[in-house]
Structures are given as C-alpha cells and as structure tokens.
Symmetry: C2
Subunit: 253 residues, 2 copies
C-alpha cells in the first residue's frame, strides 16, 4: 500500500447559483500548483454543490404548516426552519431534545434532513442537500474531466451524526468513479481463514479523512485525496446510493 | 491547513501475548526509514493490542450456556463463539439475520461485541476487544515515548458497522494524546453566523482515514498519521470514552 495524502484546495470564492464549480476547482488547483490526475479523488463538501445547484432556501419564502409549528414550539426552533426540514423529509424517525432525526427523500438517515443554516452565504437562508447527490457527483466529474484533462473521482460529503457516538463524521452522500464499498467478505486473512463481515465503506472513510484536512471556519470545501487509485474506476459506478441500508434491513428505524 | 499524510508501517510480525508492541513499532518505523515525531498520530488496529494483551480466547475453552446455544441455533452460529460474544456483552440490543448487535461492557455499540475470528493468528480462537482500550492507548503511548524519543498520540481502532449505512468504517475505541472531539459549537462560520451542531469526531475520522492506508489481507495494523498536530495534546486526555453516547442520550437503543 502506498501512502495516502490529503490536501485542501485554498481560495475558493463564495459560491452562488449557476457558478461553474468545475472551473473554479481547476483554477484553485492551478493557483496552488496542484496537478490533479486520473486516479485522484476530489472530496467536495455538499454545500459547494448545493449552492451552485440553487439548493438554498430563503426562510422568508417558507410558510410553516401546523406540524412544523408544533415541532418548533416543542423543540425551541424557528418554525420556518422546521418546515424546510419537513419538506426534505420522507419519514421523521425521532424528535427529541431539539434534534429531528429524519429519513430524507433520498433515503439518508440524518439530523434535520441535512438542512443547515451555517455557511449558507445568505441571511436567513438554509442550505438543502442536493436533490440527487450521485447525479451531482457524476456531472461534476464529467465537467472536471473537460477542465482538467484528467478524470478524478468525485465524492460529495456531508457531516452526519451517529446513533451511538458523540460528534459527527463526514460521509459520502454522492459519489462518481469511486467504489463506495470494498467487499472482502469471503476472502481470506493472512492465515488463510475466511474474513468475517469485512465490507469497507471506502467512500465514507475517504469523506471523513478529507474532513480532517480542512478547517471548518475557512472556505475549503474541496479536498484532493491521493493514494486511492485502486478504488477509482473509469465508469461512475452505482454511487453513494449503494451505502444506504434499505428499510427492510434496518434494525433501528 | 497543511496536508494530511498516512503511511502504513510494513513488516510487523504475527503478534503474541506479552510481545513488546512499542519496540516492534519502533523497529518497523526504523526499517521503513520513517521518523515519528511528537505531533504525529499512530493508529493501531485493536487486534495488535488485543493479541499482546492476551485478549485471545480459544473456543475449546468456552462452554456455551443455554442462551448461547439458543442464539447459535437461531442464527446459524457456533455456540462457543456466541458465548464468547455474550461474555463481552452488557446488553444485547438486536439479534437479527445472524447479526448480534451488542453493547459491550465498555459501552460501545457494535456487532458481536467486537469479538472476531478473522486474523486471530490461532486455530479456532477469537480476538476480544482490549479490556480498557483507553488505558491500552495510554500505556502504548508511554512505551513508545521511551522507544522513540518522541511522543506521538495513539488511537486504537476497530471496524464498526453503522445503523443506517452499509459497510463498516474504522472508529476509535481507545485514544491517548489525541483530542477525540473538536467542538465548534457556538463558533461562527465564514459569514459570522453561528455554526450549528459542528462537533467533529476527529479520532473516528482519523481511524477511518488510517484504514484506507492499509490492506486488509496484509499485516499492517499500524498507520502513521501526519498533519493532525493541532489535535495532539501533551496530556493523554479523556480518550475515546468521550465518544460514547451515554444511554440516557441514546434515541436508538
């Protein structure tokens, strides 16, 4: 195994709807004298994608319904922000101590359906998850290949809490060209014994690793990950959708 | 932010009870011409720690009780292996489709209470989690500082499944000298707006990143992580215990 290297791209501007994210990434890489190659992975914080896709919602335009008003009153929240969460929610799993744990329309289980007010770039606005983060990753990969003359894989990331652990870790919500899971089940260990349940969430570990390479208070949504060539594929693959555990296998819903 | 670099240490031998893990790590680093410095982090797969601590159990010595025999029959498992799991379990949360989701005596929620038959190094034996992984990390850090003349942080890792996502990601079960959580709650974003719920599980992200740098079929339990200096502390700190969500805050038990 070669070493793994992660470098945050400095100097991306505040992003707006219809900005050409691929060109901005290519320019930032060039300014930092970083060459991006075919086997590289670009981890992209979803807010960068959401903003250029216009997935920012002004709370002034949100009219809270009765359920949102009720939840907001019970949990000390802005009813418009709660309505924005409910609009992204397929199923509300838990509402406790000010936390709403939601299944999003995509099928991700996370707090507030991924709706977030920080780093929105606009007053009184919230950033939503991309409508189809795998499609976003595929689109960005295609555009990057035009701008860069190389075709890195793309992982779109978000910070998710965990059921039984404090804090959040970044995971992959969209993915193109990176095999999200590496399946060693049925393979054998160094002693020739069958490996049990070794099914590695490569894209999630890459997302978490990338998060360590950036500062939360700086504008560094893009992290270049080198050394994952063996997981990078020419085709875009099934994406982060393959990481979602289907309802019928869920023991904790 | 500087770049992050992760390098697996090659060439560790099969480990046995009472082996001097710190010396073996120092020798492997020297052979690979890697200098380990104060601000570095060593991610150590828990099996390396468990083996030198003698936390390997021969199934020939395990007498399954009635509950283990019942669960084994219902889930197609070896009743002795199930008993070994139950012995490490404070609470069995779920037993479904051959998977036992347990709360360990430490308070970790994971499959099979972390008991694993692969890479045990011995026939018909299972590897248990260390009895006190934070203490293991502190001990190893102290020994490493004697062998290396530097005092890297130590993270003891294991692969945990996740409630709503496929695959496993490595997390920190023990930790010394690395601040396991970075708390940005109450801080402000690039626009001066308060960051919401930004509480980063640094030690878990580091554990997952390290997993990407090693091959599952090779003997590479140790990964050197460079670039996390800002999270490395002179004191050992509260360890990975701080990552465990207490029962009273658990919405999914």
């Amino acid at each position: 195994m070669g070493p793994l290297e992660l470098i945050a791209l400095p100097g991306l501007p505040e992003l707006h709807r219809s900005d050409d994210l691929a060109s901005l990434i290519a320019e930032a890489a060039a300014r930092a004298r970083l060459t991006i190659a075919d086997g590289d992975v670009l981890a992209v914080a979803h807010k960068a994608v959401s903003k250029v896709e216009g997935r920012v919602r002004s709370l002034a335009d949100v009219v809270p319904g009765p359920r949102a008003r009720e939840l907001a009153a019970g949990h000390g929240k802005d009813p418009r922000a709660v309505q924005a969460v409910l609009d992204e929610t397929a199923q509300l799993l838990r509402a406790e101590r000010g936390v709403l744990i939601c299944v999003t329309h995509h099928g991700f289980v996370c707090a507030n359906a991924g709706v977030d007010a920080s780093n929105a770039g606009v007053e009184d606005a919230v950033v939503l998850l991309p409508e189809d983060p795998d499609a976003s990753a595929r689109r960005l990969r295609a555009q990057l290949s035009q701008r860069l003359g190389a075709r890195p894989a793309v992982v779109v990331t978000d910070s998710f809490g965990r059921a039984w652990r404090h804090g959040q870790a970044d995971v992959a919500i969209g993915c193109a060209g990176l095999a999200a899971l590496e399946d060693w089940r049925g393979h054998r260990d160094a002693d020739g014994r069958e490996l049990q349940a070794t099914w590695i969430a490569v894209a999630d570990e890459a997302a978490g690793a990338a998060d360590l390479a950036r500062g939360k208070d700086s504008r560094e949504p893009i992290v270049l990950v080198r050394g994952l060539e063996r997981h990078v594929t020419p085709d875009d693959g099934p994406g982060a959708a393959s990481l979602r555990r289907p309802v019928e296998e869920d023991m904790f819903r």
